[in-house]
Symmetry: C2
Subunit: 479 residues, 2 copies
């Protein structure tokens, strides 16, 4: 048990220093490694396998809803980026510029895509001519670059992986329905696959995507009470269509501009998983995206029959789950700590005595509950236990959010409640003026996260200015 102790000690406790706890986990669970490229990281096999599971599930949901994958260039000529005024203003300050090809200076510099609206627009203008060509429902899985000053693994890095959906439609109604549909896809994914409850809402105007008419988002609350934007879905109206001249001939032979959307989630979701479910022993992974769902640990593996039985169980369980058998000569204590650190949902221990009794011991990662299971019932019990872990961590995350969501009706309550109970979501009424939004942030330190779809009437007046309130808003400190 010496190694076990050593490994556990090596992580900072989350209550002591949440930021340090987070970076300890991304390193010790072997999710990432730093590089000499500032602000960029290596996503290691275990981290990338989580992303592959996220991709596989989401990609299936995108295809079920009629989307097709494409691949756009990674470069955007400066003149193309400049075509939509708000968009270029939002992104130009944070792009990386390519100025040389080999030893030759480029005539026009190219930015590395921070997002690809401009490229998709150029393409749509080329291929959309008639109402018969609509809608186009495209997505791509790529990396993008934003020249951030301060970076943190998964949460904010200069290069990150994401998917970006881009669609064009004949009508505003269709485009708005698409924006909502994709926000619902993200919500369902977060809840059903990541066990992460989210709040759906609309960003205030000051927080909209550069060039959007409306930005919808899902917001999650991390274990430390900070908010994290987990996904966004934008409705562009015909703004980009006008800037890029994307017109089609409708059924009445009239020229019309298309209506457009875009939507995306990123490797930031891995950061969200860590900060939603992790504990002082390391990662806790939602079963749906865990690279290893069950780790089989033989106990007293030198005794005759133990390794054979463990291998037999592995072969059986590989049909119903992602299973790993660790028959290395590390001590059981080291292995317990290792797979707890890696957040494997279920640990299956099998030793000589278990074999005699035709049973094994299964330990849940989330609450460490030990369950004795007959070897004859594994095919039935493992899926049930994986579901139990999912439900358990979802309930815990939801309870954390509920405990940390505070309704305030006066601005001075905001810092007071957070001082007393810790950071969290503040629910408060807002008049709709950007001035009040800024003032709340300035005075209390919390920014608007979203205007939730599920509105509540907490008061008649704005928490800041006292004028009539238009919306109930979620506010919070954010990653």
């Amino acid at each position: 048990m010496a190694d076990n102790k050593k490994m556990v000690e090596a992580i900072t406790s989350m209550d002591e220093d949440f930021a340090k706890w987070y970076t300890d986990i991304v390193k010790k669970a072997e999710l990432i490694e730093y590089t000499s490229v500032k602000g960029c990281m290596v996503i290691r096999p275990y981290g990338y396998a989580i992303w592959e599971n996220i991709q596989r599930i989401l990609d299936g949901m995108f295809k079920e809803t009629g989307h097709e994958n494409v691949n756009m260039p990674m470069f955007i000529p400066e003149s193309l980026l400049q075509k939509e005024k708000d968009h270029v203003e939002g992104f130009a300050p944070e792009v990386a510029w390519v100025t040389y090809g080999g030893s030759e200076k480029l005539e026009e510099r190219l930015c590395v895509r921070p997002t690809s609206e401009t490229l998709f627009c150029e393409h749509f203008a080329n291929i959309v001519h008639s109402y018969r060509d609509l809608p186009k429902l495209y997505n791509q899985w790529v990396s993008v670059v934003r020249w951030e000053k301060t970076t943190r693994p998964f949460l904010r890095s200069r290069e990150f992986l994401w998917q970006e959906g881009h669609t064009v439609h004949a009508t505003a109604e269709e485009a708005i329905a698409e924006t909502e549909q994709m926000l619902n896809v993200y919500t369902r994914f977060c809840e059903e696959s990541l066990a992460m409850p989210v709040v759906q809402g609309r960003k205030t105007d000051s927080d909209k995507f550069a060039g959007a008419e409306a930005t919808y988002c899902i917001e999650a609350l991390m274990h430390d009470g900070k908010a994290l934007q987990a996904g966004t879905s934008h409705y562009f109206g015909d703004g980009f269509a006008r800037a890029f001249d994307i017109q089609f001939t409708d059924k009445n032979n009239q020229q019309q501009y298309v209506h457009e959307t875009s939507w995306g989630v990123t490797t930031r979701l891995i950061g969200a998983i860590i900060m939603t479910h992790g504990d002082d022993n390391g990662l806790v992974l939602p079963p749906a995206v865990a690279p290893i769902q069950v780790v089989i640990l033989p106990i007293a593996q030198h005794k005759p029959g133990v390794l054979d039985k463990a291998a037999e169980l592995k072969a059986r369980l590989a049909k119903i789950a992602r299973v790993k058998l660790d028959d290395s000569d590390n001590s059981p204590g080291w292995k317990f700590a290792e797979y707890e650190m890696k957040g494997v949902p279920l640990r299956l221990e099998i030793g000589p005595r278990d074999i005699e009794q035709n049973q094994c011991v299964i330990v849940r990662r989330d609450n460490r509950e030990k369950i004795v299971v007959s070897l004859d019932e594994l095919e039935k019990r493992i899926p049930e236990l994986l579901k139990d872990v999912h439900d358990g961590i979802y309930a815990k995350a939801l309870a954390n959010r509920e405990k940390r969501t505070y309704a305030c009706t006066a601005i001075e309550q905001i810092p007071a409640v957070m001082e007393e109970k810790g950071d969290g979501f503040i629910k408060a009424m807002w008049c709709g003026d950007e001035e009040c939004e800024d003032k709340v942030k300035e005075i209390t330190g919390v920014g608007s996260r979203c205007i939730p779809f599920a509105q509540e009437h907490l008061a008649d007046t704005c928490v800041c200015c006292g004028k009539p309130a238009k919306h109930m808003v979620y506010w919070g400190k954010a990653y």
Copy 2:
């Protein structure tokens, strides 16, 4: 049939102008679209779906052989690129340089990866310490950038998609075995999934990858008799390990350098598919990677029962193949031409008379053979027919290669035989001197493609200088 005629006429015949035929196909089959980024392209849904199938199959083969996926940054600091002398000399002239982040000039410029040996080496140096850490068998699916002057869709573009495997091993033997294993994986993939026969061999020293001790390759012969390098696998020895100081402690507690490999295939494979199997009606896709394997075309679809039956067949066949039902109001003639252009392996026609007789007509794309199949036997016949198409196009490609492979024992025979019979592979003996290699190219226009593993003794002397021959070499004009 008017539309049918129109579409077919729109492609240049391959005998008339092979290059134009090629670009006609990539556009008309909707594989790519050009962009305002010179030398870069949009891979459209139909083209990207082919790549997704290639990825899925190859990724499975990589994982079966123990490889794990990771993700490295897309940027390489100039100082890192320069660490291995041969490598930087080979790549520096053709990289894109990022010099600004936002409005700030970077202290050190970064190139967009042309390949990622340097990044993997830096990472391996960080994570490999002991023999217990070896081997590391990594791969990534990303895009890379090489600033080419002349570009052609899929064959040579400034940005292209690929996978790059990078592995480190304790011994030279293991690394060499890995290099060979991956060349065999590529060969099997090309033959079994792309129906494309390839020649396995080693590159001559002048054609090695920058920084490699040995480069192995698979070479395919296109329909026009030009050669195309379809995949490469490099053995690096400990050259990179020394440049990047990647050392490990062996079992005897001695410090050793690792031995390294890398290997890759690219979206160029899609170009190879087009030029190996395509014909004057368009693409001909190998069933294993065809986005649509069977297209169902209802005949006289306004007649009662036809569309219902077609939909019923679609639901049945979706369980065993990738199926599309086209019940649009385009004419059958237009549809025939459309799916021939797109290279769909099997076309299933179902009309009122077929339904009466409980049968349908299946037409093979490769040879246009019409087969009447009982509706009761579809689940058995469709997989057989897909296999027949695969075998048919493989045999045709092999026959083309055999017909176009010429043994020459004197240098003057080379241009003569190509003049008489058309371009192809030249088999000829070589003394091993780079001077002779260059001279053959200069005089005859064909370059060395590889020293094939399957050696033949055609003569005792070099085809160029007459000195004793060391190897039989495949020569050819290349894409």
